[in-house]
Amino acid sequence: MVKDQEFLKSKASYCLDLAKKMGATDASVTVGHSISETVNFRNKSLEASDRSDGLALSIETYLGKRRSSISSSNLLDENIKTLIEKCFETTKITPEDEFNSLPDKNLLAKKISSLNLYDETRFENDKKIKYLKDLEESASSNNQIINTESSFTENKSNFILANSDGFCDGYKTSSFTTSCVTVAKDENSMERDYEFSSKRHLSDIKQATDLGNKAAKQTIRKLSPKKIGSEKINIIFDKRISKGMLSVFASAISASAIARGTSFLKDKIGEQVFADSINVIDKPDIIKGMGSQNFDSEGVNSTTLQLIENGILKNYLVDTYNGKKLNLKSNGRSGGTTNLYFEKGNISYEDLMKKNSRSLYITETIGHGSNIVTGDYSVGATGFLVEDGEFKHPVNEITIAGNFKDMFKNIILANDLEFEYSVNSPTMMIEGMTVAGK
């Protein structure tokens, strides 16, 4: 069983009291406990089981404008005492930083509403095994599939965040995650693809057979890829890639990147940065949402933020420290976005596919080719050549490149948005990117 609120609260107040007693002017502490159980399958038989049970503690102590932090997994009182002593000693010799402080009291979350983020259902390992058997049966039904690997993870977590201004709250969350990776082979090639489902509640997890079938289908269609020539072409990004564009956008508007001056979106508030049909929203209070939260990692209340309105940048993601540097109030985004999404567009997936007589559909990118200082983008890619709305043949060993400043202004979104993950996007087309191939 995951530790209850009372246990975590008692550890948190022990830490705060001790820090105060030693002379800290302020302190904040997070105590968490998490239990997860994973079962792995390979080629329709059990491969591994993994159980983890982990406590985690992190403390920040302040002496005026001096601050330092410690973290530990050892929650014995004696160890906590030694660590807080060490932390406070370090705080004393760390230089002052005028922006160091706990969050403004009036911004702290007051009322916690239930977002239904915890499902107490126990899905015993035997049931996980049954699920994975069904999944791999369907994944391997086509004889071009030569290897299947799948897993099911159940996680239950609880945490308390407390600070010396009297904030003390936390809540339980759960997640159920299942994934399947399949390898297909033909005379020309060997290819891999995957499918997964991750939910707060067990009953929302995809059917095992659907998941297996989908993974297999997505893998088989990649067989016998061809390389294409280097050219300018319109690129359609599958949902699993288009949501990555949102993540890049989010890191470029984090207050820390803005305050340090290391983002291509610095000083762009109020300016057009996306095509004028584009709206981007970050909504923390979606019931059962994978990214939902009542407050951010500092205890600050978080409410829905419109980040992009008709293509115009409206807000940065602001935490207390960087907010003070930028003279902005925290908007409850210490720790990043919550449930981030593009509002859906007004063209159907089919029409987007047919929009050009020839385009490239990308299903996977590899490499870390997003530079948020310059906005330059260059990654390895795998996908399909699309002609007249149909997949013509699979494509690999190519790269796609551009600059986000231009790419964001040339985005067209389909109307197929679904809320599956903590970051969600419809299928996306970006016009005029460079493909490097033969």
Binding site: L55, S68, S69, S73, E191, A259, R260, I366, T374, T399
Partner: protein, 470 residues
């Protein structure tokens, strides 16, 4: 050395008994105990942004029978907690019986000393170096707009207890010193990053004001990039500089030669042992035994002493890298490559220091031989799709080559290639093998472990460069 048996009610005798009881009917497995202390001190935006210290303690208990691995970890080292884990392992393996392999090779060689680098340098003196870095770079040039400098240090103590009570221990220090600088000139911003590190004390790396060299190098890379032009797009010849660019070898070849992917036959290399996979003159080894290197280990995380494993010799594929589990299932021996990020993770076969050895040509000859291509000197991260064999990496410092001469710097571009065929495109191997500065971390299955790479300059006849200029 940590004593794991003075922390709670768990005695060594208890632990031995529970381990032996649990693993009696299994093929392999062990109790892995770990205590780590780590620190990170970061200067950013003219201030000490964070100073964090953390201590972590826990165990991971593993039992293996046939192809099934059962694993359970906890950060509570106690009799109850270990018994719970034992029950959990037994329930997974209840219907599978094995025969425990007691054999584990021994060595008394050590590749680093039992030091705690965190305690060997005072916090004050670390702060002083970080402030000196900041002042030095900001005074150096008006274009310097942002400086980040950091120290990261760690001491990890491990003990492995096998069935029958055999215990193996190791104490592993690790440090890294890093500088990142952002320049702005005529409205353009570019960053340069450089770092150094390994398994010695901070001062071993910082003597003779070596921090200045780290600053100069980060500044030089950023300055070069300020002048960069759009990179070309398409297939062309690529000259790689010596040292850190060997992450190409790591991505293109290394991962594909890890035992697990080959046992599962999901690696493009699984049926190529004894075959020619590279040009003549290409020899690649994975070596865990170089003194004080970031990727070196006295014993791996299963207790096997590390070694120098020949992967490719004169173009012929010789060996895969193995942990005990994959080695047993493939009827071979462990190469001391079983590694894990920490006690929370299972062991996987991983790289240590992956190196392409020197040939006898010069970098000059390579450049002169290229009509149109690029010269890549430094890289950011890379990634590989083991199954299709396609890999990428991102240039952070590269130049055009025109008619045998190095031309303008080019913007960061991704290079993409095909692992199983790329080494056949190597047409020249330099005489200038160099180790990387000690900064690599390799990610696999969500686990990061420190690694090293090395190579001489090489000429690759055909690779796709992912620029924007057609």
């Amino acid at each position: 050395m940590s004593n794991f048996f003075n922390k709670s009610d768990l005695t060594r005798q208890d632990a031995d008994k529970i381990v032996s009881d649990t693993l009696n009917n299994c093929d392999d497995g062990e109790l892995y105990l770990e205590e780590s202390k780590s620190e990170s001190i970061v200067l950013d935006d003219n201030k000490i942004k964070s100073s964090n210290y953390s201590s972590d303690l826990g165990f991971g208990f593993r039992a293996i029978s046939n192809e099934v691995v059962a694993y359970s970890y906890s950060n509570e080292i106690s009799k109850d907690s270990l018994k719970n884990s034992s029950e959990n392992l037994k329930s997974t393996l209840k219907s599978i019986k094995g025969t425990y392999n007691h054999e584990i090779p021994k060595s008394n060689k050590k590749f680093y000393e039992d030091i705690n680098p965190i305690e060997q340098k005072s916090l004050d003196s670390k702060l002083e170096v970080l402030n000196k870095v900041n002042d030095f770079l900001r005074k150096k040039d008006g274009s310097v707009k942002q400086v980040t400098a950091s120290f990261a240090g760690e001491q990890k103590s491990i003990e492995i207890i096998r069935s029958g009570g055999e215990a193996l221990t190791d104490v592993r220090p690790l440090i890294r010193f890093n500088v990142s600088v952002m320049l702005e000139k005529n409205g353009r911003k570019e960053t340069g990053v450089y770092g150094i590190g390994g398994r010695q004390s901070y001062d071993d790396y910082l003597k003779n004001d070596n921090w200045k060299n780290v600053c100069e190098e980060a500044f030089r890379i950023a300055s070069v990039n300020l002048e960069s032009k759009p990179a070309p797009a398409g297939e062309m010849k690529v000259v790689l500089g010596p040292g850190w660019p060997a992450i190409l070898i790591h991505e293109a070849i290394g991962h594909g030669l890890e035992g697990d992917f080959n046992r599962k036959k999901t690696s493009a290399f699984h049926d190529l042992i004894g075959e020619k996979v590279a040009s003549e003159g290409v020899t690649i080894v994975d070596d865990g035994t170089i003194d004080n290197r970031r990727g070196s280990l006295t014993i791996d995380d299963e207790g096997t002493p590390t070694e120098r494993t020949v992967l490719i010799e004169n173009g012929i594929l010789k060996n895969f890298m193995q942990d005990r589990h994959n080695a047993r299932l493939m009827n071979t021996r462990s190469t001391g490559s079983g590694r894990r990020e920490n006690y929370r993770h299972i062991v996987l076969p991983r790289m240590r220091n992956t190196m392409m050895l020197s040939g006898n040509q010069t970098q000059d000859e390579m450049i002169k031989s290229v009509d149109k291509g690029i010269f890549a000197v430094s890289f950011g991260g890379g990634q590989v799709d083991i199954t299709s064999g396609k890999f990428v990496f991102n240039c952070t410092e590269a130049y055009e080559i025109n008619n045998g001469k190095i031309g303008s710097p080019i913007k960061g571009a991704t290079l993409i290639g095909d692992g199983p065929s790329i080494l056949k495109e190597v047409s020249m191997v330099g005489n200038d093998m160099m180790l990387d500065p000690g900064i690599g971390t390799c990610g696999k299955a969500g686990q990061g472990v420190p690694v090293g790479v090395a190579q001489p300059s090489i000429l690759i006849d055909k690779m796709t460069v992912g620029g924007t200029k057609l």
